[in-house]
């Protein structure tokens, strides 16, 4: 038996996704609006569902509604319809009550940029 440890430290360039990734670090929702059909994708799609690759960045309000939700030892996750977007997105739920269905994007509490949603109520209280 060989016992082996591999520690890897990655530096990943985010390329054309940079506005999206930078936005996540600040808790902002940067979406992509198609120049052809005007559909808004979030997370952004380089090529729109209509097939066009022409688009522009658009700020969303950062609020969204839970469509489907799952709970387990690794946390709570949801498929979320962000307000102003025509696609849905996976998000990690932060301090979300079982009956709360609407929330606002917040910056991740880890070093990684991540899609995280917290209840509007909490944001308003802050």
């Amino acid at each position: 038996m060989i016992v082996y440890q591999q520690i890897l430290n990655y530096t990943l360039n985010s390329g054309w996704l940079t506005p999206f990734v930078t936005g996540l670090k600040a808790g902002k929702a940067k979406a992509r609006k198609c120049n052809c059909c005007s559909k808004v994708s979030f997370p952004p799609l380089r090529v729109c569902l209509c097939g066009s690759a022409e688009g522009a960045w658009q700020d969303l309000s950062g609020t969204g509604t839970i469509i489907w939700r799952t709970t387990g030892p690794d946390g709570d996750f949801a498929l979320v319809q962000c307000d102003g977007a025509d696609t849905q997105t996976i998000m990690r739920l932060i301090e979300f009550g079982a009956n709360v269905t609407h929330g606002k994007i917040i910056a991740s509490d880890t070093k990684q940029p991540a899609l995280c949603l917290t209840p509007n109520v909490r944001t308003e209280m802050l």
Binding site: S41, P43, W68, F77, I90, R92
Partner: protein, 392 residues
């Protein structure tokens, strides 16, 4: 005789489990390969190409495993290609091999699927790596795991098709009951519905017993052009249809996140090539990474329009209209990722040929069988249709 015919001349599987015997992935690959070659009744020097299915270098700490295995298996000198498509890796390799034969570029091709998904790393480490099966920059960075993504997709599915907790338990019991008759299986269990429904949630509605295990193991095939097939294997099963397709990587970009549309598209392509309809299929090994995923797969493949009722009516049991996962599937037989899709084709071929495990062998094998895999949450789909050999 069509020049496109691909004969399954050799087919073998190692036990799928968590190895504690000191053996490694090279041993399992060699065991499966040697047994497949023996069944094919050919010389190793007649093999013109090797396709290796392996999902991740992180499992084996081995880049370029196809070249390594070419040497290990006595195939040095042949073209060796590694195939990877997440959970679909095995069938991606099978289809690449079969297409090479159809292009008349080889006489015999070996396909080896292998992964040490259980013994090489901790379960938590493997699950973390599986998280990279999804778009790392979006879904992956939320920290979501495979089970949670499948759980979200299944909820969208069950809202349309009205499956239930009982449906999930029934799939679980059925597959693992089949696994009890398969000596190569990882989880030959006979849990009750109460035990299943009391197992802890991994990602609701999925509980621990609704999930497939992480396994070690290998599977191998020798595929041959008809004109090169030994007389003794001339009546072996054939691959007659293949299809592959992709869906949006983001679950949320799909028009219906509960439907496995890539699978439907792949199945349509495979049926067109085979000249049959989905309803002609009377035996299938389908990709049951989770209990609900089996129901989603059966629906997407066109094997049912009413998954809940067809399941409860026993259509998918060993004696039903279309037995599903007689091997036990991923949930029962196990899931060494690269080996999975290859093993499905092995299982279908052995049942069609009448040489499967005695308590699972159908006394009257059907004309056609289907092997179905996917990677991601059916982001990459690959399905293969087999038929009985010429004499059947």
């Amino acid at each position: 005789m069509s020049s496109n015919e691909v004969i399954v001349t050799g087919a073998a599987i190692t036990p799928f489990n968590r190895r504690k015997d000191g053996t490694g992935f090279r041993d399992w690959a060699a065991m499966a390969f040697d047994n497949a070659v023996a069944m094919a009744n050919i010389e190793i020097k007649e093999i013109d190409a090797l396709f290796v299915a392996s999902e991740s270098d992180f499992f084996s700490m081995q880049l370029n495993p196809a070249a390594v295995l070419a040497s290990e298996l006595g195939l040095t000198g042949v073209a060796a290609t590694r195939c990877e498509g997440g959970g679909a890796s095995g069938q991606v390799a099978v289809q690449a091999a079969a297409r090479l034969l159809q292009a008349t570029e080889a006489r015999h091709v070996a396909v080896v699927g292998v992964d040490p998904s259980a013994s090489s790393l901790s379960g938590d480490a493997i699950r973390a790596l599986y998280g990279y099966s999804f778009d790392t920059w979006t879904d992956g960075m939320t920290g979501i795991n495979s089970t949670a993504l499948y759980a979200l997709s299944y909820q969208a599915f069950t809202a349309q098709f009205h499956t239930s907790e009982e449906s999930l338990a029934t799939v679980t019991m059925q597959n693992r009951k089949n696994a009890c008759e398969n000596p190569n299986s990882h989880l030959p269990r006979q849990d009750t519905i109460q035990e299943i429904n009391a197992s802890p949630f991994i990602a609701s509605p999925y509980r621990r017993l609704h999930c497939s295990p992480l396994s070690d193991g290998a599977a191998a095939l020798i595929l041959s052009r008809h004109k090169n097939t030994p007389r003794s294997r001339a009546n072996a099963p054939q691959i007659i249809g293949m299809g592959a397709a992709t869906d949006h990587m983001h679950l949320g970009a799909r028009s219906d996140p509960g439907l496995f549309k890539a699978k439907t598209q792949a199945m349509q392509s495979a049926c067109t090539e085979a000249g049959i309809k989905p309803t002609d299929v009377r035996l299938a090994e389908v990709y049951d990474a989770y209990a609900g995923a089996q129901l989603q797969a059966l629906t997407a493949l066109g094997l049912t329009n009413s998954p809940a009722s067809d399941l409860m009516n026993g259509n998918f049991r060993p004696g039903g209209d279309c037995p599903i996962n007689l091997s036990g599937g991923l949930m029962g037989q196990g899931a060494p990722v690269g080996a999975t899709g290859v093993a499905q084709v092995v299982t279908c071929a052995q049942i069609l040929e009448g040489c499967y495990h005695s308590n699972l062998q159908l006394s009257n094998p059907p004309k056609y069988a289907l092997a179905d895999t996917h990677g991601g949450v059916c982001t990459t789909a690959a399905v293969t249709i087999l038929s009985q050999g010429n004499a059947a």
